[in-house]
Amino acid sequence: MCALAHKLEERGFSTVAIASVRVQAEKTRPPRALWTSAMLGRPVGEPGDPVFQLRIIRAALALLQRTDGPVILEDFPDDPPGWPDNRDWVAPTTTSAGDFAGELTALLPQWQAAQVRFGRTSVGLSFQTPDTWPAFAEAVLAGGLPKVPQLDTTALAVRFLCDDIKALYGEVAQAAGSAPSARQVDTWFWRQTAAGALLQALRRTAMVSENNALKTVGGRFFVPTPWVV
């Protein structure tokens, strides 16, 4: 983003970048940047905390008024409040050991509750609905190369299926009560759900596939490296 700030400023626009990785801003030296300790993926702070988000946005926009640049690189002084685990959070119950289809079906009411709570869903990249996910995944595990019409390759279809599964479970984990930490959501998904085990299996299947695209995409984009087993 810092490089694009340069390019926009060259074209006559004032810019301010929020920087998640300070060393990158130090190297690229954009005209104005605010570094925050916000988690990667949450550059503007904590979800559902407009007060803290506004503090970050105000601090960033204030740099537009400064005249002592370039380069202005400021540090936001406070950590967002959502880092620690939430001891009050209760993980969704998953009783269908090893049975992804059964687990998914059991969680659907909580997914619906999450959609009501947040007014939206982040599920949708795969162009498939949840009722089709188990059969599609099974076909891949069986060595098939199923496709969906909207995506060019099986590799992309599985990649975005994995994204949608993670998104649905992430929303289920946050459907009720106070918010879990990101680490709690990840730990539950990857260590306690049939869905997490399914994605690990899809990764292993992809990595021995003779389909090079599936092998490449599966190795890098189904399971985050810290959670690979």
């Binding site: 694009l4 340069h6 939206r120």
Partner: protein
């Protein structure tokens, strides 16, 4: 998390050692008081409108996001799986702070919010984005936008 010690490996090494372009000079454009500025968002989260194709890996394109797009019509298609998405799942503003800009318009702290916002694939080499930046600049001029807030993921 953007303290290095908070970033799990191998993402830590990847982000800390990411080649970054060097610029010989740094332009610095001034503008009117903040209360008169109209602001657009440029996010590298590779957001798409529901039903559109996800950003391809390495894409240098930009996509325009109308300010009034419904939150349920926004999906995040960034290629990396090594950053948190639970925050995005709860609240689009952690990535695309459109409601926060509206808050600042309501209090008179900024002059306005653009009708159009912008999104790119953050992992792409910026050298491949010259045409995209020209497209953004053209739309900014058309809407008389003077300032851009850039948000990463």
């Amino acid at each position: 998390m953007a303290r290095p010690e908070d970033i799990p490996q191998p993402t830590r090494d990847a982000v800390l050692n990411l080649p970054c372009p060097a610029f010989e000079t740094t332009p610095f454009v001034s503008g009117p008081p903040l209360s008169e500025r109209r602001i657009a968002i440029l996010t590298s989260a590779a957001l798409i409108k529901r039903g559109d194709q996800p950003f391809p890996f390495g894409s240098g394109e930009v996509r325009f996001l109308p300010a009034d797009i419904a939150p349920n019509d926004l999906l995040l298609s960034h290629v990396s799986i090594n950053f948190d998405r639970a925050g995005w799942q709860r609240d689009i503003n952690v990535v695309f702070p459109i409601d926060r800009l509206r808050d600042l318009v309501a209090t008179g702290e900024i002059g306005g919010v653009a009708d159009t916002h912008y999104t790119v694939m953050g992992s792409t080499d910026p050298a491949a984005m010259e045409a995209a930046v020209d497209q953004i600049a053209g739309q900014l001029k058309q809407e008389r936008i003077d300032s851009v807030l850039l948000t990463p993921v």
